[in-house]
Amino acid sequence: MNNADEFDDFLKNSFKKINYNIADEGFTEKVVSNLPSGRIFTINRNFILCLSGTLAVLIFVISSGYKAIFASVADIFANGFHAITLSLNSFFVIAVFIGVFFIISRIEHNENTI
């Protein structure tokens, strides 16, 4: 056995010596009385994703976004990629997606940092 092993054993034994069962002494009662009342509402990531997808598609359809796509495709064939310009409709759709991805990443972050 080398010095490192001996020190490992020493640490384990030292912790063992100071381990003891801590009596509850009203701790549980205190925690339970401080629990938030009512149901904890947490938003499901998938729900947000579906909602954002539906919202984006709706905006796209309502604002005649498909016309922008057809126009862009036609532009590609007629003038090449450099001629593509984003319409206001496309900006709406992109903004909704970016916004929702920020929300999802925030939820992801919160779930990982319990």
């Binding site: 020190f7 030292s14 010596k17 100071i18 381990n19 069962n21 801590i22 701790f27 925690v31 904890i40």
Partner: protein, 174 residues
């Protein structure tokens, strides 16, 4: 209540059953408070406040608990996060006041003071990995998963902490 942890968790999630959650708190309060006492240099009052935060945070996030790991493992992870949040909230000049718990029916009061003094010289990350490895018996891999740290970082922290502790005990013996 003689239910398994999983059954109690289900009761809390479905019925919002505070009594079932109380049973879980009762089962794990000693482990969580014990861990936090070590992390807070033996400051029982502070450890209890943090432990209360741990259980309330666990209650709020109970839905995200995955039964692949034990409930205590999950609680240790939350304890680590709560402790790290607390140390970040301290001003640079503040430090955690030491032991106020060394009085009653403890196994070995001298050893406890000595260990708490030794742990004081470690930073938060070194302290948690040392306690989880040598006290709670978790492997390097398990700690890495639990703390969401790279395995290399866990090994480095343990090595560095051991060197510091060894130096501390060597100096004490002189």
């Amino acid at each position: 209540m003689n239910f398994s942890d999983q059954r109690l968790i289900t009761l809390v999630l479905i019925n919002n059953d505070h009594k079932a959650y109380g049973e879980l708190v009762f089962r794990y309060q000693s482990d969580v408070r014990g861990l936090l006492i070590k992390l807070t240099n033996g400051n029982k009052a502070l450890a209890d406040d943090l432990a209360q935060d741990v259980f309330i945070r666990a209650y709020k996030y109970l839905k995200t608990f995955k039964a692949t790991a034990g409930f205590s493992t999950w609680l240790y992870r939350i304890s680590y996060n709560v402790f790290i949040d607390y140390t970040r909230s301290l001003k640079k000049t503040d430090s955690i006041e030491g032991y106020d718990c060394i009085s009653d029916d403890r196994k070995d009061v001298g050893s406890e003071i000595d260990m708490q003094n030794a742990l004081k010289i470690l930073n938060a990350n070194e302290k948690i990995v040392i306690v989880l490895h040598y006290d709670k018996g978790y492997s390097h891999n398990e700690i890495a998963k639990m703390m969401d740290m790279p395995l290399g970082t866990v090994k480095t922290n343990i090595l560095r902490a051991k060197e510091k502790l060894k130096k501390y005990y060597d100096d004490e013996q002189r």
